[in-house]
């Protein structure tokens, strides 16, 4: 058996209860290996997922599901560096998950 993270989908349910991602442009800050990203990205118009950790971003890129390629972008960025080059009012939803 491999490690199973939130197989009960409690986090996903809580997230989808609060947000309708349909047609939304989403920024996920601290995406890690993409574990949460894959659970909502199919509903969004476009997802930009960032994380400063090289190993996590490498795993996220390796694990990106085929059906999400094209509307999920994954980048190794610190948020302050990303935001410094981003225009205001760019996103419908910003997710800040487990990245205090």
């Amino acid at each position: 058996m491999t490690v199973r993270v939130d197989p009960e989908n409690n986090e996903t349910r809580a997230l989808l209860n609060l947000v309708d991602f349909t047609g939304k442009r989403v920024l996920e800050i601290g995406c890690g290996d993409g574990r949460l990203t894959w659970r909502y990205a199919d509903r969004a118009e476009h997802v930009t997922a960032i994380d400063p950790k090289a190993a996590a971003i490498r795993r996220a890129k390796e694990n990106l599901p085929e059906e999400l390629k094209g509307h999920v972008e994954i980048h190794q960025f610190k948020f302050e560096d990303f935001s410094a080059t981003s225009k205001p009012s760019s996103f419908d939803s910003i997710i800040f998950a487990w990245s205090f």
């Binding site: 609060l18 009012s89 800040f96 487990w98 205090f100």
Partner: protein, 152 residues
């Protein structure tokens, strides 16, 4: 952290929403499960981020008081990570924190000892027993207040 939240507010459309998911400020529980029952519980020995969580909460409170963001909804949920053994979970955390600055100190030794003890308890519980880390998470939906740099 305050600056990051200010930037979040800047990057959100006026109709946009911030979703903030964080653990509660309480130690996660290392558990042994057998046949859908919890047969052993011990606070996670690697919980060392209480101060970080308090600072993050303080920053959020600060920007809310300034009126940059407003909480619309809040809920809590259980967040479990299951492994077939304590060593498997430990290896998973090591991999997940590959880029973190981890020091080989007494705390690391204590974590390994606790996980080894939990593994003994799991094995004693018999076939089908597994280990889980049980965290409590909270999720907030926040909306930005109107800014001057965006047309109404």
């Amino acid at each position: 952290m305050v600056h990051a939240l200010e930037e979040v507010q800047r990057l959100l459309k006026s109709t946009g929403r911030l979703i903030d998911i964080q653990p509660l400020i309480e130690a996660p529980l290392l558990q042994v499960h057998k046949e859908n029952r919890v047969v052993f519980v011990e606070p996670d020995p690697s919980y060392d981020y209480e101060e970080d969580l308090k600072q993050a909460d303080a920053a959020l409170t600060h920007v809310i008081k300034r009126g940059l963001l407003v909480i619309e909804e809040r809920s809590e949920f259980d967040f479990l990570t299951h492994g077939s053994s304590a060593q498997e979970l430990l290896a998973f955390w090591d991999k997940a924190s590959a880029d973190d600055d981890i020091s080989e100190d007494l705390a690391e030794q204590r974590i390994k000892e606790v996980y080894a003890r939990v593994e003994e308890i799991r094995q004693a519980a018999g076939q089908g027993a597994e280990v889980a880390l049980h965290e409590r998470g909270r999720i907030l939906r926040l909306k930005p207040n109107a800014r001057n740099d965006e047309p109404p």
